[in-house]
């Protein structure tokens, strides 16, 4: 995914169409609290991991 100035965790989630509510995000191996997805900026070249926790089933 192309990085751009001001890119947030929430932007990535929206672009990837991740609608699942129980997402966990790590930027450069540091966790991002779910309440901070909107406000957390993603640095250029960062390693971003988005994990879907299990639910349902």
């Amino acid at each position: 995914m192309e990085w751009e100035v001001g890119l947030t965790v929430k932007d990535i989630i929206t672009r990837k169409k991740y609608t699942f509510p129980l997402l966990a995000v790590w930027i450069n191996d540091s966790p991002v609290p779910r309440d901070d997805f909107n406000s957390t900026k993603v640095p250029d070249g960062a390693k971003v991991q988005i994990i879907h926790m299990i639910s349902g089933g």
Partner: protein, 722 residues
């Protein structure tokens, strides 16, 4: 209701529960009309814990190697487990029913909420075995107040669930106090259970807000069919021994503290997480669609443009809001949503205004997208009739989806279906088929009710349908229909469904996100580890009487930041809660590792039990092609980019191949991957190449009882050792 005619009666001294156990089990033979109380030994508690563990142990002792589902010695064993009936922690009212299944011809376990499990224990019994076959319809009553078990001749002409449940709540409670009906719970099946192999058990609970009896289902495996084969119209339990401390827990303070912590979590976070309290499990509808996991047209596709019509918000508006919909006291997750004031449009109840329990996700998908219907009102009506007739909505949805595909492929026609046009989405004819299945007169409806496994034989042998295609598209394993998630894009979920003890039900492992989306299980060993841990962890719920949902349909706010991803998926804080509440009730001191060990014992015991009944080897861990990938070109084309990439990753250039060739190639690759997965999982579980637990495994787990070892030694071959 007229007085019922008493056929047999037996008295007992109800034992109060202590540390979660009464120490007694009850056996009723409805054929011989005999009764027996048995003691629970310390070894039984240690090795089998309770619930499904007790069910399997008691069934093991009751049947022969040759027992079939409809032999009198087959039993339905019902047991909650030591945590069943506590009210301090959410999700603690489940019972587990164990029986030899008509569909799979091996042991099956199926669970239900409602109040039956707790009331059975508080009436004095850790487990109930029902054996024998009555010559006439009976109502069996366990009265913990009087200390009596009675068998009555059933006065009911119509034994369908909604027709008799409310009446029995009323009959066995104080006529001057409607709230007294909460001291009664009823298990029923229905005409559909009698005439098909898809019979479910309905377990009731008195809804004190609505002032009606409501139903939860032990849906899967055909337990309701066994129930009706024994000619039981209803099973009633009654007791006034009902309180938050009726289990006499060892440490009520810890129990209360841990419970409060989860209640707070639910109140604060559920509205931001899964919204279980407002929409229940249908919160999954749109998510599954988004991720290509929603079964559409017999699992052909994982997504549909009309999925918005079955969005959770649509269901949220149909469900009554503002009522605490817990199916047992203290369940603040409260996902047992209901549709009130629904006017029935078809069938024998046409015109009646009813409350419909559900639909849950599985029903919304099975009797919705999978049969090509995107009309929640229709799903609600079908859900009502499935419960009323005692039919499992999952097998019904998947089974009818298979029928619809066969119809659209031209393998069956109106001549076979007696005039029904069973195309996907043809909702009137599909519902008419369900009415006919319950009636039990129409020959085609009877064939459908035998399940996909047998339909494949009949469609091929009698109707001339091509056997190879039926095998590819029939979504069943070990004789039972797949539940409502498309597994074809997750190798680990192939195992989550098809390397299970009893067939493709999602109660062992749901690994699609971990495996496919998160890519957390890159190697076969990683997948095997997950297929060891999660089935064993989830088995534990069935031993102690818990509902799985409060484990991971709600998670602590810091779950995802406190733990590394692999650990976070286990919801470690909730696992610790389970250890704590188990110890607080029983007075024991287990660790989270011992929790897994408790499950692993029962898991392996059940595997040996399947072997004893002539199953339980590698050849029964079969998987249909459609679970592995696309079968037809339109299926491939719907996700062409994704599947083309799969080929590229395997070193195959898709551009040189036709769609048919690509399907064949991917299938070959995936068959190979499947075999590798089976090997890895068997190794991790301590089984041999043929899927049989080794004697060393039995010894390690402490279940090397002579009769268990003898079964393994009879079937295991030296050449199957690793």
């Amino acid at each position: 209701m007229e007085n019922m005619k008493l056929l047999a009666e037996w008295s007992y001294e109800p034992t109060k529960a202590h540390r979660g156990y009464t120490g007694k089990t009850l056996k009723i033979n409805v054929g011989e009309r005999t009764f027996e109380a048995k003691d629970v030994t310390e070894d039984m508690k240690e090795k089998f814990v309770g619930g499904r563990g007790f069910g399997l142990k008691l069934l093991w002792d009751a049947v022969k190697d040759t027992t079939k589902w409809n032999d009198p010695e087959n039993e339905i064993v019902i047991s909650g487990g030591p945590l069943c009936g506590i009210t301090q922690y959410p999700g603690t009212g489940k019972f587990y029913a164990v029986f030899i299944s008509p569909l799979t011809e091996q042991t099956y376990d199926s669970n239900a909420g409602g109040h039956f499990g707790p009331l059975l224990k508080f009436a004095g019994w850790d487990a109930l075995e029902i054996q024998g076959k009555s010559d006439k319809d009976v109502v069996v009553v366990i009265d913990g107040d009087e200390g009596k078990v009675k068998i009555f001749e059933s006065p009911f002409e119509d034994i369908n669930a909604y027709s008799i449940t409310e009446t029995l709540h009323e009959y066995f409670s104080d006529p001057n106090d409607i709230n007294d009906r909460k001291h009664v719970s009823v298990i029923t099946a229905g005409k559909g259970a009698e005439h098909t192999y898809w019979g479910c058990l309905n377990s009731s609970f008195w809804d004190s807000h609505r002032k009606i009896a409501r139903l939860k289902q032990a849906g899967r495996g055909g337990g309701g069919t066994v129930f009706r084969d024994k000619k039981i119209a209803a099973l009633v339990v009654k007791t006034h021994n009902l309180s938050g401390t009726a289990n006499d827990p060892a440490d009520i303070d810890t129990l209360t503290k841990v419970g409060l912590k989860l209640h707070k979590e639910i109140f604060t976070l559920d509205s931001k997480q899964c919204r279980m309290r407002t929409v229940g499990t249908p919160h999954l509808n749109e998510i599954m669609n988004e991720y290509h996991i929603l079964p559409v047209h017999n699992y052909k596709f994982g997504q549909h443009p009309d999925a918005d019509k079955i969005h959770s918000e649509v269901y949220g508006k149909l469900f009554t809001q503002g009522i605490a919909d817990g199916c047992w006291y203290g369940c603040t997750l409260a996902c047992a949503k209901a549709v009130d004031n629904y006017t029935i449009k078809t069938g024998p109840c046409k015109g009646q205004v009813v409350t419909v329990d559900g639909p849950e996700y599985e029903t919304a998908a099975g009797l919705g997208s999978n049969v090509g219907v995107f009309d929640p009102e229709w799903t609600i009506e079908t859900n009502f009739y499935a419960d009323h007739y005692g039919l499992d909505t999952i097998s019904l949805g998947t089974g009818i989806a298979f029928v619809c595909e066969c119809y659209e492929l031209g393998y069956i026609t109106k001549e076979h279906t007696n005039g029904l046009e069973l195309k996907f989405g043809n909702k009137d004819d599909i519902l008419e088929l369900i009415h006919r299945m319950a009636e039990g007169k129409d020959e085609f409806a009877k064939i459908v009710g035998l399940g996909i496994h047998r339909m494949k034989d009949i469609f091929a042998e009698k109707f001339g349908a091509p056997r190879d295609i039926l095998e590819k598209i029939g979504m069943e394993g070990q004789g039972i229909e797949v539940s409502e998630y498309v597994p074809k894009e997750s190798i680990a979920q192939w195992g989550g469904y098809f390397l299970t003890l009893k067939g493709p039900q999602h109660d062992e492992a749901w690994l699609i996100f971990m495996d496919r989306v998160n890519k957390q299980l890159p190697t076969f060993e990683d997948k095997a580890e997950a297929l060891h841990y999660f089935p064993n962890f989830r088995t534990w719920f069935s031993l102690v009487g818990l509902c799985k949902l409060p484990w991971n349909d709600i998670e602590p706010a810091d779950n995802a930041t406190k733990y590394p991803p692999q650990e976070a998926a286990k919801v470690p804080e909730h696992v610790q809660n389970y250890v704590d509440i188990f110890n607080a009730v029983t007075g024991k001191n287990i660790t989270k590792e011992e929790l897994i060990l408790q499950s692993e014992r029962v898991y392996n015991f059940q595997r040996v039990f399947q072997l004893r009944l002539g199953k339980g080897t590698r050849k029964y861990h079969n998987i249909p092609d459609r679970a592995l990938g696309p079968v037809f070109p339109d299926e491939w084309e719907a996700r062409a980019e994704y599947y083309d990439n799969e080929l590229k990753e395997a070193g195959v250039n898709p551009e040189e191949l036709s769609t048919e060739e690509k399907i064949k190639k991917l299938n070959e690759i995936r068959r190979q991957q499947w075999e590798e997965l089976v090997d890895a999982v068997y190794k991790r579980r301590g089984w041999d190449r043929n899927g049989i637990p080794t004697v060393e495994t039995l010894k390690r787990l402490g279940i090397d009882y002579p009769d268990v070892v003898a079964v393994v030694e009879k079937h295991a071959k030296p050449e199957d050792r690793w």
